[in-house]
């Protein structure tokens, strides 16, 4: 009969792409603005709804690629942007995409803070002809991508009828993207390609099948046996577990983005208020070991630069002073540095200037195994300079609270990520976020790093109206970071994925890093558009 | 330990007295009872009065469920009474728990019906007896005092040598031995009154005899007042000075044991004595049994809604109209002093007004009504052969 599964078998490999995510069963919710929706969680919202411009997180300094908008012009102080909407795009119900729709979308986000998941302070958006002017309350140089790349454009004629867009689950999404939703079950969603009306060439992939596996190991297994062809998941020992299963086709690409992971030190706790000690610690921490052992050699790409900026995404931002300076493990150097600073290494114990043995408590949630492994390694490394470390496997909620309130000695944590290193440094050094110990500072500066110069540089960078001022501020930030080492950078966030070239080729890779590869990023639609049948 | 062997009080002094003792157990209410005014109760014991005297054994007989155990428990004050009074040496007592309860139970001790159940299987004989001595302050001062007191207690109940039994667990004792331990425990309190609830019903004839002899010996040596509850009417004849018969929660007859057993006045007592197995009555082929069966038809009455008037009237072959309506008072029989029965047959006016048996369930003319106040042929010789 007309069972919904009847066509299951005739989905040929050459027309279907199987995407997987380890996110557990989903509820039917295709609201593109809600982080909690299945569409956002699995990423298919970007196959249905499109942003104005395409930005490449792998090469953050590259110019934006036109998408629904053909061009975007920022005001010099970056408080408003004028975008020109392409005229050949249509919604999947056949209506034309207009500037009205775009203005409506931004006003919608402005009106409902709950939909403003990027937290951009929009003022308003007005359409005139094919142009839309979007105004913001403050300069948004560092948030350009949040404005242009992160907002899915929705059709006004449908959304204006939705009474409460924050609780609407948008059962039948209508977007400008190449795909429409065909079926939904808690574990799998099928998207099929539009037959007409898309503004560029239709993708070769006729059907996208998203599967939400319940956990990492299920997802890994699916990847290994070819059930999943594209995913983003942590695979321990990925060479053996995934790649070796099909050497020829199974690939992992994990480019870094401008967001890092590292060891935050509480700069108010003695003796860690001493930059010399922090620098010495930095010198002995074996980032490469953490990269290979804890992150399976790919997941959090090693941060090599002393500035904490990952490569290649951060390369263009590195100050001339630090260009090419890579972090190396240097135990002797660290010891020398410490001795110079008045520390004594007695046997296996480091004594600070007051003669107290230096000990440190490393904290991270019990269940986060890569962090826990990292801490094990850090503990090992620190013992080389006589610092006795203990590892505290904390309760996740308590850890969150304690880190925000500054109740920790050292902890592994991430920074915010963005289009520029601003977000990294802001998370670590922003004096505007400085709160007394015991008061939460959710947005950053967990280590209570108190440095006016750094704060000023951050403000200057975000507000600057010319590149020179920005470069100066950036260089200052890097210098302070390297001198003071308020956080010891270890690895970067990656925005890649695991994939198979068995049926589809054309994936982004080091040779052609045209975009982020996570299936949940806006770039996903770009990736799919790049794919070609392997044997065709 | 000082058992009151040398007490100056005269034998036959009333120690414990029940006056109009009544116990109603509330029954679980059902939905429909919610709408009825009167709450349903089990009339377990109604208006029971008797006295226990020093050095005397009073037997309480009656069929199963007639309220004998309940009377004992009321007297021991384990159950609160619904109405009536309990007088210890003439003073009314009502104790609930605490110190006053303990001082009461020191004087009035209860031996429970079942020797297999009334000793805690996890404790030794020593524990049971020590507790009883300790609670009532009879344990003396040191360990030797206690040991001596224990030995004396066990010797008193003929469990000799005491060492052999002191550290035994109940399951290692025979039924008779257990029963004696239970009695020893009661004696440990140095009581004036012993309430013995069917102390022998579960035992073998030969063991049974031993226990009964022991009890009798106690009354004689220690001048204890004993309430002996049983439904073996023959043993009441042998071991009790006085016998009281209960039926469905009420006393129906009382008097000297020999008289009550040999010349029962109340139709129920007669049914009881006739039913009791008696080898002296060998008639062969169970004909006697058949005769008894004729009279004993019918089931015991419901105690929730007991029959009006005399509770026995639905089963009584001599029932008269008055029996169905009026509660019979105690009527003296007159053959022996103190022999009474609660039966209208012994009220000449009633008998004159209505033929006995006229209101009987299956009026059987062949059964002759008992002639009131006329002695039977067999001669009773009370209290001689022991």
């Amino acid at each position: 009969g007309d069972s919904p599964n009847a066509n299951k078998k005739n989905g040929q490999a050459a027309t279907v792409l199987n995407v997987g995510m380890p996110n557990g069963p989903q509820a039917e919710n295709n609201n593109p603005f809600l982080t909690t929706s299945a569409a956002a969680s699995l990423g298919y919202r970007w196959q249905i709804y499109e942003p104005l411009m395409m930005w490449n997180p792998v090469k953050p300094a590259d110019p934006f690629k036109p998408w629904l908008a053909t061009k975007a012009e920022w005001s010099p102080d970056y408080t408003s942007v004028k975008v020109t909407i392409r005229t050949d795009a249509t919604w999947s119900d056949g209506q034309k995409v207009t500037a009205e729709d775009v203005a409506f979308t931004y006003n919608l986000v402005k009106k409902y803070p709950a939909l403003n998941d990027q937290g951009v302070p929009y003022a308003d958006a007005t359409a005139s002809g094919n142009d839309v002017t979007i105004r913001m309350e403050s300069p948004q140089f560092v948030n350009q991508q949040k404005v242009l790349w992160r907002v899915p454009i929705v059709p006004k004629h449908i959304w204006e009828k939705i009474s409460d867009p924050t609780t609407d689950t948008v059962k039948q999404p209508v977007g400008s993207g190449p795909y429409t939703l065909k079926s939904f079950t808690p574990a799998s969603m099928t998207l099929s390609v539009r037959d007409k009306g898309y503004w560029q060439d239709l993708p070769k992939v006729k059907e996208l099948r998203y599967t939400s596996y319940t956990d990492n190991s299920a997802q890994t297994t699916a990847l290994a046996n070819g059930e999943s062809e594209w995913s983003f998941v942590f695979i321990p020992n990925y060479q053996a577990v995934f790649v070796a299963k099909d050497q020829q086709h199974h690939k992992v690409w994990a480019p870094a983005i401008l967001g890092i992971h590292g060891l935050y030190l509480n700069t108010t706790k003695k003796p860690f208020d001493d930059p010399a000690l922090r620098r010495a610690m930095n010198m002995v921490i074996d980032r490469a070991d953490i990269f290979t052992t804890a992150e399976a050699g790919y997941f959090h790409p090693q941060v090599k630069s002393v500035t904490g900026l990952p490569s290649p995404a951060g390369d263009s931002f590195v100050a001339p002073d630090f260009k090419g300076q890579e972090h190396k493990v240097d135990v002797d150097g660290a010891k020398a540095l410490l001795t110079g600073a008045g520390y004594k290494l007695e046997g296996n114990t480091l004594k600070d200037r007051t003669g107290k043995a230096v000990t440190i408590k490393l904290t991270d949630p019990a269940g986060w195994s890569d962090y826990q492994t990292s801490l094990e390694i850090v503990k090992d490394n620190l013992s080389k300079i006589g610092i006795a470390a203990t590892i505290d496997k904390a309760n996740q909620d308590a850890w969150f609270r304690n880190v925000e309130q500054g109740n920790f000695e050292a902890t592994f944590r991430w920074t915010e990520g963005g289009a520029t290193p601003y977000d990294i440094y802001r998370t670590v050094m922003d004096g505007r976020q400085l709160k007394p110990i015991g008061t939460a500072s959710p947005a950053g500066n967990f280590g209570r790093f108190d440095n006016r110069e750094a704060t000023d540089a951050l403000v200057a960078y975000a507000k600057a109206t010319d590149d020179a001022a920005r470069t100066t501020a950036m260089n200052t930030l890097q210098k302070i970071f390297v001198d003071q080492m308020p956080m010891i950078p270890v690895g970067a966030d990656n925005i890649g994925g695991a994939y198979s070239t068995k049926n589809w080729t054309g994936w982004p890779d080091d040779a052609n890093p045209y975009g982020a590869m996570q299936p949940t990023q806006p770039n996903a639609v770009d990736v799919v558009l790049h794919l070609k049948p392997a044997n065709g | 330990m000082t058992l009151s062997e040398s007490a100056a009080a005269p034998v036959d002094e009333v120690v414990l007295e029940a006056v109009g003792l009544t116990k109603h157990f509330p029954v679980r209410r059902r939905l429909r009872d919610l709408f009825s005014r009167t709450p349903a109760v089990v009339h377990a014991v109604d208006d029971v009065s008797f006295a226990l005297r020093r050095g005397r054994v009073t037997a309480l007989v009656g069929e199963s469920g007639s309220g004998k155990s309940t009377v004992a428990r009321l007297l021991a004050q384990i159950h609160p009474r619904t109405a009536g009074d309990i007088r210890l040496h003439g003073t009314s007592t009502r104790v609930r728990g605490g110190r006053r309860f303990r001082s009461y139970v020191r004087r009035v001790q209860l031996i429970l019906q079942d020797p297999f159940a009334s000793l805690n299987p996890v404790h030794t004989v020593r524990y049971h007896l020590t507790r009883s001595l300790r609670i009532h302050g009879n344990a003396g001062r040191g360990a030797e005092d206690l040991e001596a007191a224990l030995g004396k207690l066990l010797t008193r109940v003929s469990l000799t040598p005491p060492e052999r039994y002191l550290d035994a667990f109940p399951h290692e004792l025979s039924g008779g031995q257990r029963q004696r331990v239970a009695i020893a425990r009661a004696l440990g309190a140095d009581p004036e009154v012993l309430l013995a609830d069917e102390p022998v019903s579960m035992l073998d004839v030969s063991i049974r005899l031993g226990v009964l002899n022991l009890l009798q010996d106690l009354t004689q040596r220690l001048d204890i007042a004993i309430l002996y509850i049983t439904h073996d009417i023959a043993s009441a004849r042998y071991f009790a000075d006085e016998t009281i018969v209960m039926y469905a929660g009420r006393m129906v007859e009382g008097g000297d044991s020999e008289t009550v057993t040999q010349r029962p006045a109340h139709p129920y007592t007669r049914l009881l004595t006739d039913s009791a197995p008696d080898p002296e009555r060998i008639t062969g082929d169970g004909a006697g049994a058949a005769a008894g069966a004729d009279r004993g038809q019918g089931e015991p009455p419901s105690l929730i809604a007991p029959p009006s008037g005399c509770r026995f009237h639905p089963r009584c072959p001599h029932a008269m109209r008055r029996c169905t309506t009026d509660l019979p008072p105690r009527l003296d029989i007159g053959d022996r002093p103190g022999h009474w029965a609660a039966c209208w047959l012994y009220d000449p006016d009633t008998v004159a007004a209505d033929a006995p048996g006229s209101a009987a369930p299956d009026a059987d003319p062949t059964v002759p009504p008992p002639a009131p106040a006329v002695a039977r042929d067999d001669t009773a010789t009370p209290r001689e052969a022991r």
Partner: protein, 335 residues
């Protein structure tokens, strides 16, 4: 005396095997005649129940029948040894030929089935061809026989009083009109009035149906009144056997004598009660010779070494047998 219906010869019943075995019944010879009531009395633990269960092979583990014969003489057909029957044959034999009434009626009736179910399934098991209606009629009739209204058929056991339950068991025992009914202390839990009612009914039914009864109790006074013959057990053996009246008048075995002097009589002159001194023997370590000799007031020379055999007493009493050196039998046994 009529012919035997059940002959027990040299029956031995043990609990356990090998050295640890408790010999609860030892070489018992007993004959039950057609239509008679044979009383079996004795102290607690003397093996009465064991004998009853042993001869129907209903002993629970670790009981085993370690020897002897139980010969049943059907009304028609050749005699059979019950102990050699196969389980299937045994099932056929049971209840149809020999039924049992156990001590506690509450425990003998399955609490979750109606009285009718339990009555009917025994009829059905032995007469599968009968119609349901016929079976039901029979069940009604049976209940009426023991004086219970037929409308009680659909009651559950707990809805009946103790006496009624016991009567239901008797009705059930008679359902297939067996030749032999074994009753193990059927009335101990009941009060005397009820006991008499039931025994009266039983006597009547026996008159009408003519089955033989093996009646077990330790209440001698009851037996004397109710049975034709009485056998007395002590320490796993029959120590005396005699017609009821004769036994009561004159006990030959000192143990029987002790028993008779242990219970008070309701009527007649007050007798002296002497009781039996000492305590029952340990079945694991039975004294040599006559098991009763340590407690026997009249024990003399051979008693503690040689076992007296059950045989006719030396004097002229017919139909009696006793195992006591005071009354040496024709052929004394030594084991």
């Amino acid at each position: 005396m009529s012919d035997p219906v059940l002959e027990i010869r040299g029956l031995r019943v043990d609990y356990g095997l090998g050295d640890a075995a408790v010999h609860a019944v030892r070489d018992v010879d007993l004959t039950l005649h057609r239509g008679e009531v044979l009383g079996l009395a004795g102290e607690s633990g003397s093996g009465k129940s064991t004998l009853a269960y042993g001869l129907t092979r209903l002993l629970p583990p670790p009981g085993v029948v370690s020897g002897g014969q139980v010969v049943y003489h059907p009304a028609d057909g050749p005699p059979v040894d019950v102990l050699t029957l196969s389980p299937a044959q045994l099932r056929q034999f049971r209840w149809a030929e020999t039924s049992i009434v156990f001590q506690g009626a509450m425990n003998s009736l399955n609490p979750v089935h109606k009285v009718s179910t339990q009555l009917l399934d025994v009829i059905k098991a032995h007469d599968p061809t009968s119609t349901a209606a016929a079976r039901r009629d029979r069940a009604r009739e049976l209940l009426r026989l023991v004086g219970i209204a037929a409308d009680r058929l659909d009651s559950y056991p707990h809805q009946l009083s103790g006496g009624m339950r016991q009567r239901v068991m008797i009705a059930m025992a008679l359902a297939l009109e067996p030749q032999v009914v074994i009753m193990d202390e059927p009335t101990t839990a009941l009060d005397v009035v009820m006991q008499r009612q039931i025994l009266g009914q039983l006597a009547e039914l026996r008159e009408r149906l003519g089955f033989a009864v093996l009646f077990i109790t330790h209440d001698l006074s009851l037996l004397v009144e109710f049975s034709d013959r009485i056998a007395i057990m002590y320490g796993g053996r029959i120590v005396e056997e005699a017609p009821a009246r004769q036994l009561y008048r004159r006990a030959l075995h000192p143990y029987t004598d002790g028993l008779l002097h242990s219970f008070p009589a309701l009527r007649g002159p007050r007798r002296e009660l002497t009781g039996i001194p000492g305590s029952p023997p340990d079945l694991r370590a039975m004294p040599d010779g006559c098991a009763f000799h340590p407690r026997c007031p009249k024990a003399f020379d051979p008693c503690d070494t040689r076992l007296p055999a059950l045989g006719p007493p030396g004097d002229d009493d017919p139909g009696r047998a006793v195992a006591c050196w005071l009354h040496p039998a024709a052929a004394p046994l030594t084991r």
